[in-house]
Symmetry: D3
Subunit: 63 residues, 6 copies
């Protein structure tokens, strides 16, 4: 019954998401002794103006 | 003060959401002894490529 | 695939939680057209010093 | 390591979000003794038909 | 209607939490134009073995 | 900046959690092109009377 929520900065492709959920599900199954069909994953994209570290929006950060 | 977050696969109409929050609020009030104005509900739509079971994106599932 | 998280002030009995998840699951199924086995509910108890409205902890509120 | 999720009704400008994360980060640092770079904030906009109080969608409320 | 969830490493006192919710509520009201009674905050303590950065539990970090 | 929340039925050991965060962090880094120090994971234990499928608490399920 593990349920995962993963917040990501927007911009990942469906191919990357497909690989992400496959590999993360494997990692969960190997380590906490569950079968894959019990692993649920919710992906949540964040716009760059919706995530901040140190009080600064990601969209305002200098490279 | 119950606060609910409900993740749904995208595609529900506003009519369905209206009925959902009405009925769920009733269910909460009847069972945990609160008045309706204390029940807050956040609905969160998930795209089919943002939800996975068993390591497979919903958008990749075979019918 | 609806997944619900419900935050409650601590103190509900298991009997209340049993009734809550039964009734809320029914409400979800009736309104957004899913079967019960697809409805997952996570209950999360909040201590009275871990919830605030208007900047005041619940444990500090005057009756 | 504080991690904050903030759900807001949609419609805030980037300027408001910029001010919000700056001021909230300051408030966290002053009160729980962390440095700003450890404070992460996720902002989540809610459409008015995705938030309900008392079983009524925000988009259905009468002014 | 802002709803905030704040995850903190365990160990903060009620005094710190009281100050945290007061100051954060002020910061929200000043920046996104809401009145205090609409700001709800949920605090969630994390044990040091329940938080990880870079794949390492906080409880395993070297000082 | 991926931030993960993982809800697990209670009972996992610290050893299992240590392995879980290590392997999941690797899986995230390999698939969405981030470095490990940007991956934050919050683990959240659920009591068996705080998780339900099909309207039935986990603690009430028949083996």
């Amino acid at each position: 019954m593990p349920i995962l929520q993963i917040h990501l900065i927007e911009g990942r492709t469906v191919e990357q998401k497909r690989a992400l959920v496959e590999k993360v599900t494997q990692a969960v199954c190997e380590t906490v002794n569950v079968t894959p069909e019990h692993v649920k994953i919710i992906l949540m994209d964040m716009a760059r103006h919706d995530y901040a570290t140190a009080g600064i929006l990601k969209s305002d950060e200098q490279k």
